[in-house]
Structures are given as C-alpha cells and as structure tokens.
Symmetry: D2
C-alpha cells in the first residue's frame, strides 16, 4: 500500500530532502512514500493543502542564517496546517565542481543565498576574484554547474552524486556546527500525544497597535510558567511597524498551563493560530516553577469547585 506523496523544496539533493528521508525512515514509511520535489515553499505547502501530498518537510530556521521567512509567512496565513514533528540537521558545505575543473579555474560560484552567507569568509580567502551567483536552492546550483552554466556550487556533499560532480573543497563553511531545523507538516489533525518534552508553535497577530502589546503577550505566558524557545516578528504586509509573531513554547497544548495561556492569548490577540504540539527533538524537559504542573492545576480546580459550592 502506498501512502500519499511527501512534498519538499526540490530539486533532488537538498538538505530538506535529506530531512524528509530521515523522518520517513524513522517512522517506517520510507518504502511507501513518493517524494515530491517542488519549486518553492509556497508550492510545497499548497500541495498539502490541496491534498496532492500527504505531508511536507520545510526548513524553519538555521542557527546561522536565522528563520526562513517564506516558511513562517506561508504557515501563518492561508488554510491552516499543523506541525507534527521537528528535526535538526547539521549543515555543512562543500565546493562542488565538474570533474575537469580545478580551483584556479573557478570564476563563478552558485548557491542559495543562505549558503553564501555561511561560506562568505572562505570564499573571500580562497576565491577572492570569483563571482557569486544566486540560485533557488543549493541543489539547483549544483544542477546548473552540471549543465556547465556555472563553475562551482556550494552544497552538501550528497548532491555531488546526483549531478555527477566532484568535491573540489570540503567543509568550506565559516562556522562549523551550523544546524537547520526542519518541521514536518500535515493538514490539521489531533496533535501527537504528550510526551512530557514537547513544544507548541503559534502565530499571534496583535490587535490594535498599542505600546506594551508584546509585553502583555509575554506576561500571558510568564504568569502560567510557559517558557518561550523562539520568537520572531514578521511584517503582516501592511504598513511598516505592523507585525505578527511566530513563537515556539515549551509544553503541549493538552497541558493545563499551555491551554490556559492559549485561552489568554485568544482573548487579547486579534488572531491566534495554533501550529501544532510535537515532541522536542532534543528531548529537553521543561523546568517548571512551582504551581504550574498538571497535578497542581487539577488540585486548584478541585478546590475552586468546592469554593463555588460553598464547601471551602
């Protein structure tokens, strides 16, 4: 039996494809899944929305280059989608070229702009006279090198075989240990069960623009002991200064403190979009301050019920 296709930002050989394959193997679905490379993040997510893919893997942020705006924006608006899993992948770059090319012959280097940002110092030191050319993805850059359009590409080593290239230089990134965080999304569905070490992703649109609105939002989390692990502001597309916030917090929507915080946000924000609760890839347990565990919530709710009945 074949499950639905799995969409990702193509072409073959991207880090996103590697993340998708790793995820499908972990969940025992590799054999049954058709990989569907797409031209853009918007196309990837629309494939899930219109049912032509069962799920999709997208990059959310990189430890050096920061968030991926296209992913944040596409998840924040349009038909709702839900994150069901996160993966971190170490990212490293090699300089790929055709078999006959040597370093002194490289005049043009192509890559996705993120890759250029991560290899800038190496390029200045080793290829000071080469021109950098942007490409839609590193794999696309490698494909164009294979076609003879450019001399070299910055990409992961896995791409070399796909486009019949060699590794001209290894580990050309300026900072080692760079990681990219990917998320696997589907149409809305009940979240995976709570594991005790979960994350919840949200999109918050502030209502009227008043000073202190962000402070107010953070207080809704803080008062329930819900810690943030990521916060990004993104323009809504209106005037400069109109933002929405893309936020990750510790905890699962089924936990009382997270649920109460969501209720609080829903009451004061113009819009709250729930993007999913899912296990943390690092398995790190939240440090809960006193009074915010599910057990303490239950005890307090039972007490309130007694008070309301006059049995306090």
């Amino acid at each position: 039996m074949t499950t639905g296709g799995q969409a990702y930002l193509g072409p073959a050989g991207t880090f996103t494809e590697a993340a998708l394959v790793a995820y499908l193997e972990q969940s025992g679905r590799r054999a049954d899944s058709e990989l569907l490379p797409m031209a853009s993040v918007a196309d990837v997510l629309d494939a899930v929305r219109d049912g032509s893919a069962e799920g999709a893997m997208v990059a959310l942020e990189n430890s050096v280059e920061g968030s991926v705006p296209a992913t944040l924006d596409e998840l924040a608006f349009g038909a709702p989608l839900m994150i069901r899993r996160e993966l971190n992948l170490s990212v490293s770059f090699d300089l790929l070229a055709r078999a006959e090319t040597d370093l002194t012959a490289v005049r043009t280097v192509a890559s996705h702009p993120h890759a250029e940002g991560q290899c800038r110092k190496w390029l200045r030191a080793n290829l000071p006279d080469a021109h950098w050319m942007p490409a839609a993805s590193n794999a696309e850059a490698a494909r164009l090198v294979g076609e003879g359009r450019y001399d070299a590409a910055l990409a992961g080593s896995a791409v070399a075989d796909v486009y019949d290239l060699k590794i001209l230089a290894s580990d050309v990134h300026d900072v080692s240990g760079s990681q990219t965080r990917f998320v696997y999304v589907t149409k809305p569905a009940p979240p995976p069960p709570m594991t005790g070490t979960d994350k919840t992703s949200l999109v918050l649109v502030l209502g009227q623009d008043h000073p202190g609105a962000l402070l107010e939002i953070l207080t809704e989390f803080a008062v329930r002991g819900v810690n943030l692990t990521r916060i990004e502001s993104r323009p809504t597309g209106g005037a400069i200064g109109d933002y929405f916030f893309s936020i990750d917090v510790e905890g699962h929507v089924d936990e009382a403190r997270v649920g109460e915080a969501l209720i609080g946000l829903h009451r004061i924000c113009a819009d709250v979009r729930f993007l999913g609760s899912y296990p943390r890839v690092d398995g790190q347990a939240p440090s809960l301050r006193r009074g915010v565990s599910d057990a303490e919530y239950s005890e307090a709710q039972a007490w309130l019920a007694r008070v309301r009945d006059g049995r306090a």
Copy 2:
C-alpha cells in the same frame, strides 16, 4: 417562626447594631430575629461558628480610621466563615451627657479609640482641659456616662435614648462624611447569585518570603483583568515581616476571570481562603478591559477544545 439569633458587638446602641437592624429589615427578617450583643469581635464570630447565632454583623473598615484588625484577623484564621452582604453606614458623632451636665462642667470624655481619633480636633478646640478615657465601644462609654462614671461620651445620637442621655453638642467629628463598612457573615454556604456588580473577599498567605511575592500575586489578578478594591497587610503573628493579605476584588467567584485568578493564587500561595462573593453595596459595575468577560472566556475555551481536537 423564629430564625437563629443575630450576633453583633454590643452593647445595644452601637453602629454595628444599627447596621444589623438595617440589614434584617431590608431582608424582611427583622421580626423573626433575636439580636445577640457580644463583648468582642471574637465572641461575635465564635457565636456563628458554634451555631449559637445564625449570622453576625461586624465592622470591617472605616474611611477615617482604617481597617478593623480584630475583624480581619478573626476572619482569616479559625473555622471558615463567609461574607454574604456588605453595608456602608455614615458615621457621625455627638457629645452625649446626663441632663444636668453643661459643656463647662465636662472634665472626662469617654469613647472607643476610633471615635477619639475622629473627634480629636473638636475636643482640643472645645474641651482643651478634659481628659479622654477609652471604652470598649462608644455605646459602652455612654452607658458609663449614664452611671455617672464619666461626664460625657462620643457616640451616635441613637445611643442617647438607650442610656437616657441628652445631646450636648452635635456633629463633633472633624471630618464629615465618614463611613464604616460592615459585613454580614454566616457559616460557609454557596455564595449569593452573581448580580454583575459583585465583590469577592480573600485572604492570601504568601509561601516562602521572597521579594516580589506581592508583585506576583497582583500580576495573577491583573493578567485576568480583576481589579482590587482593598488590600491590607496583616502580621501572621510570627516574626516581624511575616504578613498575610486581606483583599477585596471586583467580580463574583462564578465569573470565569475571577475563578481563573483564584486557581492561579491557589497554585502559588501557601494558603488562599475564600471569604465570599456578594453584591456591591454601591452597585458600581466593574470596568472590564477587552478579553475578560464571561462571553469572551467561553468563546476562547470553545476554540481551545477545537484546537485540541485538531479542528483549529
């Protein structure tokens, strides 16, 4: 049919008796109620606790002299009691004496210390050489004047008839418009139904003494839009610096924002005692900021239920 007795701080003629009578008349129970004057606030409340009285009227605070510590402390500890009604009474003082006494003959003036505090300037200006003598209540002072023990008493005019005294001088208080707030208490019972203009009284005992504990408590109220109308710190009786807080807030325990704040306090305080929800005597509606009405809470809770079911 006779209901149980109604306890108050005696003797006959105190402002507290006036408040109790007013309340019983308003609720159509005057005829069926036996008034039970007691020697101290502790005795008054113990009479309710041990069932020898059905209810009791006690003074809680005065707009000039402040809170009545005995009432706050007796309600905070011991078997729980519940406030079911509040009343404000304008308080005014006259100088009472026996028929034969004129002002030039007054050498001693007796009263409860609260009354002395409210008439101090008048006494200095009009009876600079008289000595003030403390009494357990103003009515008690009047009784002692009737017995010939002192020359004059500071008390409400109603007491004159009780002890066969005349009014030697009217309105001898320094600040006019002084008010005393009384509360009617019973054993624990379901609170009176929500009216939309209610108050809730609480006792909060902080846990470990950490800087910022009070700030934390106020934040629990503020984040749910629950406004405080009174806050008193009282020593717990341990070391100097160990306090509990006696607090009144706007709203009824059956309202969502009040209930959620109580749950929050219960989770972080060493102890929370619910002292009752009851109609505000001034009928003043709370000014609710956006997002904290019961309707907005219900809508948010329904949304959370959908989110948890994967139907966001």
Copy 3:
C-alpha cells in the same frame, strides 16, 4: 551639657520608654537627656515638630497586633519628620496587682487594647469571669490599678515598681517571642551614612485611583531590584477605597538603585514622602540581583555618557 528633651508615649513604665532609654544609652546620651512622657502619639510627634523635644521614640508595628495606625498616620501627614533609627523590643506581659490581691479576687483587668489581644486566651482560661477594661497604655492601666480603680493590669514587669505593684502571674501572653518595632524620629536632616545594611521608609499617595496603580508602584521597585520589607495600606480619610501606602524597603537613599526607584515613584505618584534611611537593626544584608549594585550603576552611567558623546 543637656541636649533637648526626648518625647515618648507615657506615662513612665511603657515599653516605648524602655525603647527610648535603650537607644539613649546605646548612643551615650542617656545622662544628658530629659524624658518627656506625652499623652498621645500625636502629642509626641508634635513635640518634635514644634521644637519642644529634640527627638521622639514611637512604636511602629508589633509582630502580633500589626501596625500602629496612629504612628503611620501622624508620620504620613503634617510637617515632615525623619526616622533615624529602628529598634526591636521583645514584648512580654505579666499580670500586675496590688500587694493584697490574689488571683481569685480579680474582677477587672485593664490594659491597652493591643495587650488584650495578645493575652486573650490566657484571660479566658484563667480569669473567665473577669471584665477587661481598656486604658490608653498599659502603664496607665497599672497606674489605675495602683489607685485602686481596677484589680489588675496587663503590662511589662518593669511597670510593677513604678506603681508599687506585684507580679500576680508571669508571661500571660498567648504567643511568646512577640516583638514591637520602634523608631526614633527627629526633624528632617541628612540621613545617617550608608552602612550597607539599611532600610528606607516611604509614604506613597496614589494619584487618580486606577486599577493597577499598586502593581505599577511595585514594578518601580522590582525593576531596580529594591525589595520591600513592609507594606501597609491606610485610608487617606476620604472615601472608602482611597488609600496611601506606608512602605519600608531594603537599601539607603544614597544608593543608586534606591534613588532611581524614588525618582520613578515621584514621577508617577500624587505624593511621595521620604521618611528616612537608617541602619537595619537586624544587620541583614540585602540580596542584590545582578545589575543593581552601585558599582554596576556607575559603570552603566559612564557607558551612557560615552554613548551620548558618540564614543560608544
């Protein structure tokens, strides 16, 4: 050479007199000081204000009975005074009587109301039929026992000799270890030098009554790492619900964090009255969080000066 007189709440034999004598001995001024007993706290403080006394000792709070409203109110309004020293005195009560009286003969027991509050259980258990009579101070009660007016008085043992009484029963207080905190006040003057373990006392009058005003005040302290050790709300004498706050905080007005907090309060409160900085009697050092020491303030101010000059 004789210094000015030292005022206190009389008559001779009160705990306040004991506190005053202890303070004068500690500071080597006992021999040169004339003790001036006064009839009320207002009279005590007015003696300092009009120059008839150099300083005065007043009780501020008791660990069982709470704050002394007369002291808080008299310091908060009228011509400014300044606290220069605090003392804690252990308070214990004995039952004093004339030589011929034995316990079975005691029908009336006199005391200041605070003393009655601290000995209530003992009285109920040992003298269930005796009547309690209020007096302006415990020493005054003892004086009246000496005159034969009452049978016994609740007071400290030191008073026995003054009025020629015997100790009929020792340690009749319900809670042992009760303490009273006294403060020594003078006309405004530069505060005693910073010791590193100081307290600062303040009176804060809120401006317009808005929900959250108290939260706002506490935040002014918290953001500068200034911890509160005492907070009392007192009515201003206007409508019920109009309060001022009497507050003690850790630290000295000459410290940067305390000064900045005072500036913040002065900007947002209707009135701030500085009541003095003085050494803590318990010598307890404040626990400063990062960033709020004088050294860190100085470093930050120097940085700001550079930034403003374009040398950042």
Copy 4:
C-alpha cells in the same frame, strides 16, 4: 570640495541608490558626493569602517518582505557604526524587457528574491509558464536582461533607462503601497540633536539564557514609558535558540527616559550596542504617559537631591 564617497548596494539603478541620492539631495551634498556601488551589504558597511566611504545607505526592512537579515547582522557585530538618518521609499515593480520582446515571448523572469515574493501572484496569473531566476539585486537582473541572458526582469522603472530596457508591464506587485525603510550610517559620532520626534536603534544580547529574559528587557522600557516600534530576533550564530534582538524605540538618547532605560539594559544584558538616535521620517510624536517627560524627570531629580540633603 568633495566629501568622501557614499557606499550602497549596487549596481546602479537599485532602490538603495535612489534612497541615497534622495538623502544627499535633501542635505545639499549631492554634487560633492561620489556614489560607490558595492557587491554586498558587508562590503558596503566595511567601506565605511575602513574609511573608503564617508557614509552608506542600506535597506533595513520592507513592509512586505520583512527585515533585511544581512543589514541587521552586519550592524550588530564588527566595528561599531551609527545610524544618522532613516528614509522610507515606496517600492513598486515593473516588468522590464528589451525593446523587441513582447509578453508572450517571456520564458524567464529574473529578480532579487524579495521582488519575486512581492510579485508572485501577478506572475502566476500572467506568466504561468515562465521560470523565475534569482539575481543578487533587481538592477543586476535588469543588467542581465540587457545582455540577453534572461527575457525580463522585475525592477523599479528607474532601472529601465540605465540598461536600455522598456517597461513591458507596470505595477506588477501584488500589494500596492509596499515600503522599504533605509538608514544612512557613518562611523560613531555624537548623534544628531534631539528634535522631539526621534527614534533610537539598539542591539541587545541577552546574557545567560533564562526564561523571561525578554520580558525583563521589555519591562525596562515599559517602566520608563519608552515605546518599541520594531523588534527582531536574530540568531547569534551559536546554537539554535541563541538570539540577539534588534530594536527601535521612540525617543532620543539625550532624553532622560531613554537614557535611564539604556542604563537599565546595560546593567542586565550581556551586551548593549547603541546604533544611533535620529529624527523619525514620519515626524510622529511619541505619546508620553504621565511622569516620563524630561521636565518631570528634572523635577524628580531635584526632589531627590533635596531628600538626600535632608531638606525634603
């Protein structure tokens, strides 16, 4: 006399060049300034740092595409620079092509990725079969169209003349009214004088990662009535989850409330970088709450000086 060169992201014809020219004309320095197009934002800012340019214009954020990460990151680290002016430019896109090309012949469309994001719907509707090709800037895309490399470019109309192209379709952006905010930077220098409608830009690096660090930072601003107009989180380049914040606030560093907030941040953050105070391009005055104007600060500081001298 010629001033130093003015650097910007080239080639000729970019929106950044237009912003730079507009600024130089406004300040009467157009004739004396040499324009220095550079290949990257890093090169532009390094030209100012090494003295080969006097100043530089860089894009900071766009109302549709969000912040420009390269600018935020390059300003946050390396030798300090200072923003002296901001400009907003309306951004609109046309489809440019060589004279002989008509719409049906367009197979490839080149542009900077930001431009693609802003014209995506138009392209899908009008050129569904064309391939989009990334370029380092829109002007660069136009240059490549001029060379015959691609069929059409998305760019501002001003670029058409530079590369001898025609406007094949006007206003092809999906959202009209898009704006880009540019800033003019120099080496550190005293900020331009306060105008009353200023902004201040900052980079804040949090110290140890503790939950609530961002809340703490926002409170430092809020307690002094300093409003934020922009907040961006950016990775520091370390582990995923390590951020710095790029922030704009209302007000000038010479104003007391801004200065005090900066001192507060400097005391609690691992690092604070001041990026400049400069007039707001929209001339919008800050809405100051009570107590935070310079006059109120001065009055409070004078009061504190009196208090410290014992003259309160």
